[in-house]
């Protein structure tokens, strides 16, 4: 749970940083997108150790495996909690739990659902809502990004989704470090929680920045 979660957070940080290439113009963004997939003349990442275009599949395999193991751990914990709960309290009042902590499980299910849409939209290109990758966007990831986020409601969907992601990470980040044994004093708790908030806010602002810039016409 903790290790796969931290791996996915590391990926999100990289993904967010990559999205900032949108501000450097179409050529820079498309070159970056192509380089990740080994489509650039230099053969992309780890070429010639790996054949051109092979690294992206190694990378994707690791991510998919991390997501599967993360879900597997979550389901196991969920089942154990269900088995340990014979009947619910008639009255129950929470004293310490945060909204983020309480919504980890159903929140995770919702995150996974929107993730499938996100991949269908921007990776597989089968769920594009404002055009088609080949025709309207002329095979340009930059044009696709702009075209999709010029729809205000698409920005709203992603703003809400990223809020759910940020909340999931706020509890997940500190919880992962607690599971790995880093939370051994009240001070460690404060530091971990502060870092969790910082990562969550950074990722939220970082991810929503480019779509909002498209919406207001800064990127076009």
């Amino acid at each position: 749970m903790a290790v796969t979660g931290l791996l996915l957070i590391a990926f999100l940080l990289m993904h967010m940083f990559g999205n900032f290439k949108m501000f450097l113009g179409e050529e820079a963004f498309n070159h970056y997108a192509g380089w990740l997939k080994g489509e650039t003349p230099d053969g992309g990442i780890l070429y010639p150790i790996l054949p051109a275009g092979a690294f992206i599949w190694v990378f994707r395999s690791v991510l998919v495996l991390a997501v599967i193991l993360h879900i597997y751990s979550a389901v196991t914990l969920w089942m154990r909690a269900k088995a340990a709960t014979p009947s619910a309290y008639k009255a129950r009042k929470a004293l310490a739990q945060t909204y983020s902590a309480r919504t980890m499980r159903w929140g995770g299910v919702i995150l996974a659902g929107v993730l499938i849409f996100h991949l269908a939209q921007f990776t597989v290109h089968s769920a594009l809502t404002a055009g088609s990758f080949g025709a309207t966007y002329a095979h340009s990831p930059y044009k696709m990004f702009v075209g999709e986020f010029q729809q205000w409601w698409m920005v709203v969907i992603y703003a809400v989704w990223m809020l759910a992601v940020a909340m999931h990470l706020r509890h997940g980040f500190w919880s992962a470090f607690a599971t790995l044994g880093a939370n051994t004093s009240p001070k460690a708790f404060r530091v971990l929680n502060a870092c969790a908030w910082a990562i969550a806010i950074l990722l939220y602002i970082g991810f929503i920045f480019a779509p909002v810039a498209v919406l207001v016409g800064w990127i076009h």
Binding site: T76, L77, R80, A81, A83, A84, T85, P86, S87, A88, Y89, K90, A91, R92, K93, A94, L95, A96, Q97, A101, R102, M104, H171, W174, S175, A178, T179, L180, G181, A182, N183, T184, S185, P186, A188, F189
Partner: protein
């Protein structure tokens, strides 16, 4: 003061339970919560009804025998200004005319025996699995032969204040017994006497905890919030740290 109680009544482990409403009159605000239940039981006995069964012993907050969920929080922590056991919670924490819900600890590993009494033997079995130090017989070692770091000694003493009441399990959304297990792990891990069995102890105790059917810890923090002895959440961090390092040792393999 007069209060309305809604109490969980369950004749035995097999029967279905339900909430039953009772009026309790002339309650003194200086009564403890258990004395208020005594008052109710006197009344029920006079009426010829079955009194409400609840666990209690020392009534001074140090034995860990008592414990019920009051208004949705273990030991009534939500009504008390300070960390408390049920016996040390006083009726002045409630207002006149209050409606108070009283339920037993609910967890698969703590089956209800009767009314508010639950079987907490699962905790005993976790302790039996490894919550001890083995000491050879012979002459006593010299006093101060083993110097203990002050910070670690304090941490051991703080963790050792756990009275095993089970409030952590009752409050946990996963019904995990991690705070209890971790308190004993931390207590013994901080002391020189606990070192020889440290790696083996954690493997045995965590296995026993899981075999008893407790849920897994997801670092929510409800346990530490209701703990009458204020065992901090970071003892679970210590448990996790020791568990990970024990996986690299050959203890128990």
């Amino acid at each position: 003061m007069n209060i309305t109680l809604r109490v969980w009544r369950q004749a035995n482990a097999q029967s279905e339970g339900r909430m039953v409403t009772y009026q309790v009159r002339d309650v003194s605000e200086d009564m403890s919560f258990l004395e208020m239940l005594d008052l109710l039981n006197e009344d029920l006995t006079i009426k010829g009804e079955e009194p409400v069964a609840f666990d209690h012993d020392c009534r001074e907050g140090i034995c860990g025998t008592c414990g019920v969920v009051i208004n949705g929080t273990a030991h009534g922590r939500g009504n008390s200004p300070v960390a408390t056991t049920t016996c040390q919670l006083h009726m002045r924490s409630f207002s006149d005319g209050a409606v108070i819900d009283v339920e037993p600890w609910r967890a698969g590993s703590f089956p209800v025996i009767k009314d508010l009494v639950v079987n907490r033997s699962a905790f005993d079995r976790i302790i039996q699995a490894g919550g001890y130090v083995s000491v050879n017989t012979g002459s006593a070692p010299d006093a101060h032969a083993n110097a203990v770091n002050k910070r670690k000694a304090d941490r051991a003493f703080d963790a050792a204040t756990c009275i095993g009441c089970g409030a952590c399990v009752a409050a946990c959304p996963n019904h995990s017994g991690m705070l209890f297990t971790a308190a004993k792990i931390t207590h013994l891990a901080m002391l020189p006497q606990g070192q020889p069995e440290r790696g083996l102890r954690i493997k045995k105790m965590v296995s026993a905890h899981d075999e008893e059917g407790f849920g897994g810890c997801t670092n929510i923090g409800e346990c530490a919030a209701v703990c009458p002895k204020e065992i901090p959440l970071d003892v679970i961090g210590q448990l996790n740290r020791d568990l990970i390092s024990s996986l690299f040792s050959r203890d128990g393999k």
